[in-house]
Assembly symmetry: C2
Homo-oligomer: 405 residues x 2
């Protein structure tokens, strides 16, 4: 089905879907709906009204449309995404969509339809409890991070694999939007005038800049494992029983804590946003307690699973025979996760790209309250990152900051 790259029409998408071997029955009545946001990719939802079978076709666009501006983006991210999905599904079966086909010419990935799932961010805003999310996400993180690291795979093959996931265009988005713009005057920043004082404080806090510079340096240089690279709750499809991590187009070899921190950050941002979404104070406190326990459980389960993999599958002789190094490593990994979580919160309040948990709060005062709470949590986590000793301590720091204690 290979042809020269061009953005597909819905009719072309249907024809490509029909040509897939054995996926749809011969008498399939296919229809297509483009469901992408149109900023980075086209996403076609192809369904057969006869058999009820369906699939997703995701095609990369050669640019990113953000706030009207157009940034050129390599189509190679489509290869990176499809290869990352295939690897993630191999390492964490059932926790990422299945890839049926990848077409490099068209920058097109054909994959499992997960439309029976809901984007986790949306679910959390609606107050949905996901009792298995911490279990599933900690498995996804432990399996994908361990088995792509120097502990879980041949160390020479890891270097070659790293080379296949060099991802300059997408990394630059993170480097600019997360690790630079929020701490300076930048045309990419976007926030409401009401929090100008808080945004100004970010630009003038030398102690904060030191920590962010250290974390930025880790993002730039610390090639520990193949990251998802953009693991916020908008990259998670969930039901109360099932969890699927999607959209790894930012995948590259980086510091493990970045993926872990992304989930933690987004749980805390939902926590801040619940100032508005759940009106009843008792129910709000209950849901917030659930969010906090999800953070705690995510790390605790990840920590246990990663240590078990270390004990049973570590290919690095020195690492596996040095228990103090395992303790050192897990401790520093938590610290990295806490620091990156903070950075991911801050950028969602003052940077280019925001989250619906907070931005879609209709009432301006409640929105401002949530924004300020998120910024307090984010900056507190950043400042504490190199001294945090446990997830309980990290949570205490976040909750004290949230309460403005």
């Amino acid at each position: 089905m290979t042809t020269t790259y061009h953005p597909l029409s819905e009719q072309e998408a249907i024809e490509i879907a029909r040509s897939l071997d054995h996926f749809f029955p011969a008498n399939a009545k296919l229809s297509s709906k483009e469901i992408g946001d149109g900023n980075l990719n086209l996403v076609f939802h192809i369904t057969d009204s006869e058999s009820g079978k369906s699939l997703i076709m995701k095609q990369a666009l050669p640019y990113a449309k953000v706030v009207g501006e157009s940034w050129p983006l390599s189509l190679d991210r489509s290869r990176i995404e499809s290869e990352a999905l295939i690897l993630q599904n191999k390492l964490a079966p059932g926790l990422a969509p299945i890839v049926y086909h990848y077409d490099p010419e068209l920058a097109l990935t054909i994959m499992e339809d997960l439309s029976d799932h809901v984007i986790m961010r949306k679910g959390l805003i609606e107050g949905t409890v996901y009792p298995h999310a911490a279990e599933h996400l900690s498995t996804f993180l432990a399996q994908t991070l361990f088995f792509t690291s120097d502990f879980g795979m041949n160390q020479q093959q890891k270097k070659v694999q790293l080379g296949k996931f060099i991802n300059p265009d997408l990394c630059k988005i993170t480097e600019d939007l997360i690790f630079d713009d929020p701490y300076t005057v930048s045309p990419n920043n976007s926030y409401e005038a009401a929090i100008e004082d808080a945004a100004e404080a970010l630009r003038t806090d030398a102690a904060l800049h030191l920590e962010v510079a250290i974390l930025r340096d880790k993002f730039l240089t610390k090639a520990e494992a193949l990251l998802h690279g953009d693991l916020h709750t908008g990259s998670v499809f969930a039901t109360p029983e099932s969890t699927k991590v999607i959209d790894p187009e930012f995948a590259y070899y980086g510091p493990m804590g970045f993926d872990i921190g992304a989930i933690i950050a987004n749980l805390f941002m939902n926590y801040a946003g619940q100032e508005h979404w759940i009106g009843d104070a008792g129910k709000r406190a209950e849901f917030r307690a659930y969010l906090v326990e999800t953070v705690r459980s995510l790390w605790t389960q990840f920590d246990a699973k990663f240590r078990k993999l270390w004990d049973e599958h570590n290919v690095d002789r020195l690492a596996s025979s040095t228990p103090a190094f395992k303790a050192f490593y897990m401790s520093r990994l938590l610290q990295d996760a806490v620091g990156f979580a903070g950075c991911k919160i801050v950028r969602r309040i003052v940077g280019l790209s925001h989250v619906a948990d907070i931005d879609s709060i209709p009432d301006a005062a409640a929105r401002e309250t949530a924004q300020r709470m998120a910024l307090r949590i984010g900056t507190a986590l950043i400042k504490a990152n190199r001294s945090v000793r446990s997830i309980d301590e990290a949570i205490d720091i976040a909750l004290s900051a949230a309460a403005n204690k």
Copy 2:
């Protein structure tokens, strides 16, 4: 002059040299001498007895012969070496041999003849003072490390450049021989029975293993800059006026401190070996003081030059506007250098590959004294690496260990 890969004969080397445009005059009377050690590469010294002009042709062999064993080694290291040499000479002009031609098919690099220089290790064993070595080597280190890092070049191009210097085969040699074998029972280890107790101590010291595991992890994951990768005094051609860094076939993106530590390690190993080489106690003390001052000056000059580059050429907005990060970075870089220096000393005493400064001491008792002194220095530097605050403190630690204080 491209042809299928095969190890060249001296006659073929002469023919290739003759075919180089405009290098030798038409009436050149070329002769060739193979001067390599035959373990990793063929090295032809081609001279024209008429004009006096000469050059070096270095051809990679597809294996490494070490203690009778044959390890397969990718010929791609020849590309890496020639590309590294060209880049190093561009960034630190005059401090690396000039490359005249590179032939990828033959894995052959044709370069400047430096036979008027002496291998620095040999010179130091003979008690030669190199008054400009610290100045030249600190310039080489500052220029090559800064301008290949995320501070000195476009951060997206750096990722692509990193991909070109993925060097699994050569990195594996370092990972095994420096960061693993010396701390366990390995057939690669080699030391005299007289120091079995000291070798045994390396295998059972849990605190030492923690530090080595942390340093190994940095070598495996910390892609800060394009390293030379094997910067011992046998990779330096020197005269009292001139310094040329050669043989960067281990080049890869790694932690800057590894290159700096390599030089420091080899100066301290010469210090230990001088127990024998300079019989006169006064002259020995004087030469050792010179070696120690070279260590101090190397770091002090490197530190000043790197900071100046940071101030004047840093492309990273956040790093360049955060003075505390510069201080943090230089402090951690010294610590890395100290730790890697220690690892590089230890492996030269009990590991596969030794140094003439110590191993060629003819008297067994003096040799053992030097070996034990070097091991004390090495382990002390490794254990102190994460707490060292200054080069003076590092030197004090090394000298106290040398004196067994």
